[in-house]
Symmetry: C2
Subunit: 705 residues, 2 copies
């Protein structure tokens, strides 16, 4: 038995590698919830003592039964509670009192059915006793190296799991079992498995963090419906990224109706899905949309096939499927670059009918001489200059005539290139497929899925290769007093975000003087801490360029403001140069506070793109310049900033700087700010900078979530 870390009171070691275990509600019937864990523990050869606790029997499945926790001859490291909800509180009290370090609670009938008070009491008892608690309303956990099975999932009926580096955490028990079944089907070896259910104590984020630090875990597969502990999730993802462990994540509730269903299914408050999505991407996790994609990416990650770049070589025995795979590569952002000319010529010499550019069609002739297949693949690997290669062989490697020589040829390739990201798409029976897997080839039935998996693996590798995220810097406290537009812009300017040079004028004479000093057409805008939507009260007049017009505008704006709200404090007007016009692009920048993940920065393109398509993107603050560039690239209308139809490209560098500065402001202010809106933020043509035309900062109220 491997024990990765010694059990400690505040870790999950006691859960995944306990030295001894008690089973409360242990049953003699191996098919019952209380019987299965015992059966699984013994089948796997758990190496410590197992203490069935059952007051009504002398033995359980041949082991001596104990009447109560108090009667156990020693304090077990862990306990499995196969008891109905009504008996849980008493049992947890006894276990915590005895000093048990971890317990697994199967029962339903807690928060998910409204019994939140009971769940809170049980969690508090465990916490006070220093006992970690999994569940309730879960299928428990198991550890293959620990030979520890605290689960009643029927997927374990299929035999003891194969050991490996994949650890799985799932909020849902049924889905966790489903994932285990699929991983097993793929031939992926498992390390730890845990389902967190109602998460009275242990959460998906904590399990993920444990796996990130667990030396034996190489790949992490995770499923959640929502999160409560955003900081912990971020720390866990960052720890996994720093340790170069792929995290493949399924977070459901992407759609509005799906999110509503998730909300009604779990008691937990989920952050906005778009923010979750951004955080997963930002901290290097791969978010899957379907179960199949989740398992595909975990599969390729377990094989260690993480391409160092986007260049994909496609080798097929069917020109058509080469095109299909090229479409998939294009969908997923991989680069189907042509082979170097010399390599094309060399291949053409060997196979006159081959397509040698990329996709590389070695035609079915490859199978007339399987050794040639191996040689040709080696040529592509050696000379192609690719970061990854996907080879489509359809059902040919399984045909009676070809099976042995093709396997030998491909084994030779793998031996020569043991670590290269090389995946196979083929249709063969399970035993032969598992033989190829054992050789080190991830095998996918679907050629598009093979390409998509490589793209996902590439994204994970790119995440590993990024520098660590920036630390948040302190920000000076917000000024006292009201945060009107002028004050908000001063805060932004102080944070390094360019704002319009503008003059606060408290008299018509001062407004005229301001216009003179600016020396070109100006906008005049009301400043009042009590009136936020100044456009709607006639508080904005644009394009003024003579003394009389500026003077009249000053008087008219204050008169209208007074008429709108006689009690409003009127600070004066802002006089600012007119901006925008030809060659400028308007974006919106902002900060929002996510209830789970805290301050996030928002970027969107102005006008119809944000209004009609909701074309915005998020990041948890703070971010660095690379992340800001990634945000810009994610906008569907990103091409607008590159200049379309003869327009000049916009000053993206200025936008990147502003995003970084805004994110540091947001992170530094932390809980003091509820939201910031910079709309519009005007991007001038490249090299000419950018400027915030309007700004609004809303302080966070005391006690606001």
């Amino acid at each position: 038995m491997t024990r990765p870390n010694p059990p400690g009171p505040n870790s999950l070691d006691a859960l995944f590698a306990p030295r001894s275990v008690a089973i409360l509600g242990a049953s003699d019937d191996a098919t019952r919830i209380g019987g299965r864990p015992l059966t699984y523990l013994r089948a796997a050869g758990f190496q410590g003592p197992i203490y069935p606790v059952n007051p009504t029997r002398d033995t359980v499945q041949g082991l001596k039964a104990h009447a109560a926790v108090a009667d156990l001859p020693e304090t077990p490291d862990a306990a499995i509670l196969a008891l109905p909800a009504a008996k849980v509180e008493e049992a947890v009290t006894a276990l915590a009192g005895r000093g048990v370090k971890a317990c697994v609670l199967f029962a339903s009938g807690f928060a998910e059915t409204g019994e939140t008070a009971l769940q809170a009491r049980v969690a508090a008892i465990a916490r006070e006793g220093g006992m970690r608690l999994v569940g309730p309303n879960c299928l428990g956990a198991f550890s293959v190296p620990g030979r520890f099975y605290a689960s009643f999932s029927t997927v374990l009926d299929r035999g003891v799991p194969q050991q490996g580096g994949l650890s799985i955490v799932s909020q849902s028990g049924a889905f966790g079992s489903h994932l285990y079944y699929l991983a097993r089907q793929r031939g992926l070896g498992i390390r730890h498995w845990i389902t967190t259910g109602n998460e009275a104590d242990v959460t998906v984020a904590e399990a993920l963090e444990y796996f990130a630090h667990d030396p034996g875990t190489k790949v992490i597969m995770a499923y959640a419906e929502g999160f409560t502990d955003g900081d912990r999730l971020v720390a866990a993802l960052e720890a996994a990224r720093a340790a170069r462990k792929p995290v493949v994540f399924m977070k459901v509730g992407r759609s509005e109706i799906g999110a509503a269903a998730a909300q009604s299914h779990t008691a937990a408050l989920a952050g906005a899905d778009a923010v979750c999505d951004a955080v997963l991407r930002q901290f290097g996790a791969f978010r899957a949309q379907t179960t199949e994609e989740l398992v595909d990416i975990a599969h390729i990650a377990c094989a260690g096939a993480l391409p160092a770049g986007p260049k994909l070589g496609i080798v097929t025995i069917s020109g058509g499927v080469g095109v299909l795979m090229t479409d998939a590569a294009s969908d997923h952002g991989l680069d189907v670059a042509p082979m170097p000319q010399a390599a094309q010529a060399a291949l053409k010499e060997r196979l006159p009918f081959a397509g040698v550019r990329n996709p590389i069609d070695i035609t079915a002739q490859a199978f007339n001489d399987p050794a040639l297949l191996g040689d040709n693949l080696k040529l592509v690997l050696k000379e192609g200059g690719y970061d990854a290669v996907a080879a489509f062989l359809t059902s040919v490697p399984g045909s009676a005539a070809n099976a042995a020589p093709v396997r030998d040829a491909l084994e030779g390739v793998r031996r020569a290139w043991p670590d290269f990201p090389l995946v196979l798409s083929m249709l063969v029976d399970d035993p032969l497929r598992l033989e190829y897997e054992a050789m080190g080839y991830p095998v996918f039935a679907d050629p598009s899925a093979a390409v998509a998996a490589l793209a996902g693996a590439r994204a994970i590798r790119a995440g590993f290769d990024r520098p660590a995220p920036p630390a948040a810097r302190d920000a000076p406290p917000l000024p006292d007093g009201p945060l009107d537009e002028h004050a908000a812009k001063q805060v932004l300017a102080g944070a390094g975000i360019p704002v319009l040079t503008e003059h606060l004028a408290t008299s018509a004479d001062a407004a005229v003087a301001a216009w003179r000093s600016i020396g070109r057409p100006v906008a005049v805008k009301l400043v009042s801490p009590d009136i936020q939507h100044k456009t709607e009260v006639g508080g904005v007049v644009l394009g003024l360029n003579d003394e009389g017009a500026v003077r009249d505008a000053f008087d008219a704006i204050l008169t209208r403001a007074r008429a709108h709200d006689a009690a409003a404090r009127l600070t004066g007007v802002l006089v600012s140069p007119m901006e925008g016009g030809e060659g400028c692009v308007e974006v919106l920048l902002g900060v929002q506070r996510d209830p789970v993940f805290g301050p996030v920065v928002v970027l969107g393109l102005g006008g119809v793109l944000v209004e009609v398509l909701g074309d915005v993107t998020f990041r948890r603050a703070p971010i660095d310049a690379a992340e800001a560039r990634a945000m810009i690239g994610e906008l569907r209308g990103a091409a607008l900033l590159d200049g379309v139809r003869g327009r000049p490209p916009a000053d993206k560098d200025a936008l990147v700087q502003a995003l970084v500065a805004l994110s540091q402001l947001a992170a530094g202010q932390g809980a003091r700010i509820d939201s910031i809106d910079i709309n519009p933020f005007l991007l001038r043509p490249q090299g000419q900078g950018a400027v915030a035309l309007d700004a609004l900062i809303v302080r966070r109220q005391e006690g606001q979530s």
Copy 2:
């Protein structure tokens, strides 16, 4: 042996149900290309005579061999040519001369390697002899009811195919074999299978048309890299739609780089992919993006599970997977509507812990009493009001304790609801899965794929329920002489498309008179048959509303036009009222000529959406109002027409009328028009109509493709 139709010279009957067959190049070695068809024919029990032709042997695989086609004792209906390219011309000449009705040509070394002349000669010989020809460069064809196997694909080594209603046509041999393997794996019964290769004669479109009219074919799966015969494809799709036969299509080359690869792989000219895509959708085919999706939709179609509406009930034993499936439904446009209150109450009474709204979480408790599982499913089917139901059962139906009672329960459900679109998502071993398939359940491992398949089946059913597409009406010939803006607008007006009321003025006085008669600000635009891009030569002046300004504009425009091109014919100027402004939306309408599919109508949203996102949609002309509405709905920025941010909704009805009229104009003009551009076409607020502000018609030149 079933023979669907008597063989006729111009049909494919001789290919799928010949009474006798010759094999040229027949080999004694059952593993060789010339040996395999004979092996397969005999294994399947082909019921007519088989004539091996091989001048070097007396017998082939125990059958008497003939030295030459001339020596055959009778004229066979069909011939299989397992000969190298160099011997094909002579053989085809002999076969055609003898009156053989169909031949299958395996050899490569024709158009795909540049030997286009040889291929053309062979095709001409066959055509003149009235012999249909499959290939060259293909894996041939087979027919399960005809017990006819004219293929050397190694997938047939796995045994005689199971008979059923699925016919498969694939341009690619390897991919056609791949599809057959997958269909077999799913337990789908096959009827006919054909790979068309270089398509010297028989094309994907013709095979599809044959299947559409073949009474035994119930579902059609098709693969192509491109099309040459657009009209035939449209006729085939429409025939299948009219016969309510689902067509599931994979057309590769979606991406730009994929299309380039396809072009280099096949000699064929492919129409623009976006147009192909529109035509497939318009004529009711489902276009799949991946192989898995292709087979998933064929799978559900073979089970006849075509939902009559979009309402989907989701039944799961895992709340989380319910959310996941809800996300998938939302992605694919299905409606996860709640169950009626009474049904919710009834289910809640039976299962207090169940989620009863939709997704319906019957929890794992369902398996404690599998009869209850059946009852609960029946309740959802009876009371839910759904068009389809997807049930997720993970691996539970395969667990030892549950397998038999769960199967009994689900068999009972299927018996009570034999035709309802009800799919299962479960993870079970192949034999049990095929048992469920035989029961009438389409089974999908992936729950998201189950939902996506139902959505695809729904789209197919919606296509069946649409009326037949409109017939093209004749259009009057285009006017003689140059088609300047004014003339173009008159053509459009004649076709029923609203154009701006405008006055052609040939003098400054006439321009002023026109402005007076309009009575509000006007635009003045150059009219010259020789200058098309009038904006670029200063030929447009906007917003004029006094006599001097109109007069100056007339002179200035003509002066600038003269300076630009002293030889240009200058007809005068158009004076038209200024249009647009608040509450109006600009779209672009157009007609393009696709080399394969002929005139197509184009709709896009004006401004940044079309410029940056390429947000346009296509249809083959003509279309009806429903199709025009579908086009509008496909625009990513469609919400812009519904009014966003307090803007009024645009007059969509006017847009629909204009699209229909434009499509009839395009279809009626047919080959006379190369393109039409109406940009912008201005939509006023709902009820206020629409108007073409600018228009350009380009005639088709003689001999243009």
